[in-house]
Amino acid sequence: MANMTRRRTVELPDHPDFLWVAEQKPKKSYDVIIIGAGGHGLATAYYLAKNHGITNVAVIEKGWLAGGNMGRNTTIIRSNYLWDESAGIYDHSLKLWENLEEEVGYEMFFSQRGVMTLAHSVSDVRSKQRNFYANHVNAVDSVWLTPEEVKEIAPIVNISEDIRYPVMGATFQPRGGIAKHDWVAWGYAKAAADLGVDIIQNCEVTGFDIVNGKVKGVKTTQGDIAANKVGMVAAGHTSVLANMAGFDVPLQSRPLQALVSPLLEQVLDTVIMSGAVHVYVSQAHKGELVMGAGTDSYNSYAQRGGFHVIEHQLAAACELFPIFERAHLLRTWGGIVDIAPDASPIIGLTPVENLYINSGWGTGGFKATPGSGWVMAATIANGEPDALAKPYALDRFISGHLIDEHGAAGVAH
């Protein structure tokens, strides 16, 4: 047995003794039904109860709570988006994050360790700088880093000029960071349940009860449930649900993969993203590297993707972070992300009265969990779009008022 000292991993605190009623059965009717117990659905239910006093609410989940993208993402949180509309909703979300653990009384490991986005070519620098200046006029915190400054914050980055795509600079949002996704989902679920919301798992919505263009309830694998209002918050499966309700949404459902390493000594205490070489990495509290890449290029509902995406990503990672060469790949998985033509969410009313939609968060909705739930709750409670949600209405695909985060961002984690 060795007696040398080495880096220890930290044991996380315990979850609370009680979270939610196991195997909760649905009531006959609710004021509001939320379809999908991902982060956004749970946050919506929580804010309905908390902000609007609407507590006769059920969150209906076809599988296990947060078993969709909420439990599969790489947890990057930031608000330094390009467009004003995005700055509005994502920064509102970030502000909510900043008080969330205290508000719901749940440890979420929200850690504002900063998010760095590397630029690797002249044109990459130009577009990242634009982003940086856009953040400046929108009063979103953002710093421009030289390669040397990148190295100071994250010594493991290879900033030498003779690598395939040298680091030429980076934007850095100090308020950005990470959280632990399960803890966030469970925190919202518990807080919502404590306020009276029913969380019903293993209950798949299979159809809608729509009379004269107005939704009256949902059909599920646990029977019909009536509701005055219904919110679809089903991420990658939104188009399936919209179909059941008789309308189309312009969403592509694609696999997005992520991976982790086993626990490693701490070498990285910020978040680094590189769209150009397709690698995103942070090191979680216990020490595992959490990495993501771009979406797979085909549509699918199977929660898995192609291995070449992983291989490509690890090649890029070894080049950018030589210290990762010996790190191990422990586990890979995929989620199904819902991508709108402009890579921005769709929030608001639908062609069916009293049926609301919240989807299209694609590869980057984890960070928006609080903000998304907040505006969705307001939209459902008031029957009209919340101010921050308004630009994201479904009808923008008719008017053409797109909020195109694809152009500059690549993958918008």
Binding site: A2, T9, G63, L263
Partner: protein
Amino acid sequence: MSTVNFTFDGKQYSGQKGESLASALLRNGVLHFTDSSYKDRPRGVMGLWVEEPNALVNIDSGAGEPMVMSTTIEIVDGLVARSSQGVGDLPDTRDNSRYDKVNRHVDVLVVGAGTAGLEAAKKYSDQGKSVIVVDDKPAAGGHLVYLGQAVPADLLSVLDRENVTYLPRTTVQGLYDQGYSVATERRTDHLDSKVHTEMSRIRTWHIRADHTVLATGAFQRHLVFANNDRPGIMLSHSAATYVSNGANPFKSAVVVTVDNQGYRDAVRLSQAGVTVNAIVDIRNNPSGPSVEAAKAAGIEIITGKTAIDTCEKEDGTVKCVSVGNPDGSDAACIDGDLIAVSGGWTPVVHLATFVGIKPTWDAKLAAFVVKHSDSLTSTAGMLAGDFGGDDNAEIFFGPTLTTEQALVAFVDYQRDATYRDFKRAIDAGMRSIEHVKRYTAIGTAHDQGKTSGTVTMGLIGQAIGKAPDEIGSLTFRPPYITIPFAALAGRDRGLLSDPERTTPIHAWHVASGAPMEDVGQWKRPWYFPKSGENMHAAVLRECAAVREGVGVMDASTLGKIDIQGKDAGQFLDMIYTNMFSTLKVGMSRYGLMCGVDGMVFDDGVTTRISENHWLMTTTTGGAAKVLDWLEEWLQTEWPHLEVYCTSVTEQISTVAIVGPKSRELMSRLAPALDVSNEAFAFMENKHADVAGVPARIARISFSGELAYEINVPAIYGLHIWEAVMSQGADLNITPYGTETMHVLRAEKGFVIVGQETDGTQTPDDLDMSWIVSKKKDDFIGKRSFSRADTARDGRHQLVGILADDGSYVIPEGAYIVAGADANTAPPVKHIGYITSSYDSAALGRSFALALVANGLARKGEKIAIPMADRVVTGVITDSVFVDKENTRRDG
């Protein structure tokens, strides 16, 4: 057997060649391998192979590797290992080992070279099929090897057959849809302790098989009782195997079992000289040949009881096990420095679950099995429920524990997750295995729950009175075992991490000292500094040379797509916003293409080579995207069109000579060519010999100057370039790079797609209404021009910006506010942003292009640019700064 010397935790040991590090350490009497990750509890080895939850080591010799299972490392001379407490090291040194990849198509892939796998291999090989047999162990034979029994020769010899490839030490890491597998082969670690740069250390196999046979066998699992983690507590099959091979630090043992496997292991232990004090069996009436054999060996059998707790010796290893009723009552101690646990078999269902095949619970076997057979995948052996023996396992995962006992009854050893953690999860409302995992961290360590997975499912069932299969199904995710990142990067490391594309003239650029700009995968010369010159000075000089004399640029990277077919003209009319079908043969035209949303997508000059033959050029970075786009329309929307597209980017070299003196130079290069304006007009193409090489010369200009683009087969690119340089020497021919090109075009107000555009600009926004045909019925993007938002007032439009201080170059990307808002603190309403910004030799000052809300109507208005450290003021201007009348292009 030859002896091997190695080091563990700084101490020298020797072991036998071919054995695992775990085995060698046991042979040396080492029981306490490491301490647990969180609770600092002493831990030893439990398992035989990749199911090992405890005995992790860091390897410091050879390539070096953090956190590997000592059960899977074959010892070699010079091996240096260090115990690992569940956190891997990341040394600062590079791993220079070679890693590579292989692709293989095969009729049948057999995973597992145990008897079931070998039989499958034989069957398919007999049918004449090509077969790959993959097994992660050093030798074929599966359990027979562990049992020390000979593998039947007729099976073993299958591996030598012509149509069979056998890959030992190779792990199938992932099974994917359509018979695609990824496997990793360890090729050098077992040879020596060196870094291998000449042959690959790990090879990644990408195997596409028509059929995949999964014969992956099974692991034994443990039971959850108090203090079930002390060194000396092992899985019975593992213990019996080590001991039978002479790695025997034990004197006496107690076997705790739920099935007849425990009896067979007890017999093996006793045959190897370990005194088996008792077999403790949860079942009341065990029977079968294995039971009889144990009785015959004189081993005491205690039925209806199980392990409740253990106690330790001074050194932390196990001393005895307390045995009692399953409810915890009537417990009494039995001594043993080995407690061998047989908790039932867990077939290796991993690969099947990777492709969504769900295991089913077999109550008779007390195991999740996969009985599956379809054209793509089938299972065999223990995975398929063929356990062979007389196991008669009881469905049992551990006794009732007191609160204190539950605190030290481990479900997942590596995560130090106990029955108490598990129970809290159940009480908190967790029912899904996925929730229990997340609540407790069970199954999340290096072993991904290979032993704890089924145990957890069983415990949930036991806790809420359901069968394990009513809880849900056991699923895993790739990879099967951990893989170094570098191995998956393979040869795609360093400069090979992404292919580098260079033009035939590249070496010349490099030799001349030009720094390179990465444009997509291309390396393009950025500028050509003379000695002592910085970029700013070089670019001003290059720009001036082009506007006043003649410059030369390598334009070979522009995307080039050869388009042929009788409907090509019609097709181009749909792709571009402007008309192409009317273009005369031999002429070129600049075109803009939009997405369906009406937003500019790419641009370039397209030439009609002959009636049905066109050559399209695209932006350097956009070539692949455009070709995809063309193919998408041809294949999915307009399959009736007869059009064929071929990428010819790399087949043609393009050298552009640009500037008022380019005509003189062109005539020198191609004496037979009439270069006068009358004979060779703007946008015309001519064929002529240039420096002895047949060339197509186009009068195209991206700078506003008189210019000729010389296109030759790629192999002549450098020759033409050198000819240009020598013939132009007395004209002070000046090579220039991408930066000068950008400045020159910006002075003329020409856009660069991706710089003046970001996917949200219509041609109108770019002040290019002239390029949108009013005559054509349709083209891609047309219908979107009438959408409410596309047609609205106030869209951002392309304009010029002049800073009040002409010596200041505004940063590109900077946001613009109305002059009146110059001193408003953020958040402040902005009206647009700077797309391009340079110092100009021609203007003798800086200038910029910008997209500004309603900009075309705001020329002359004051603007401001607020930045962190200053506010810059300026004025909106026209976007054309040089030669508004287009007089210079004709020389």
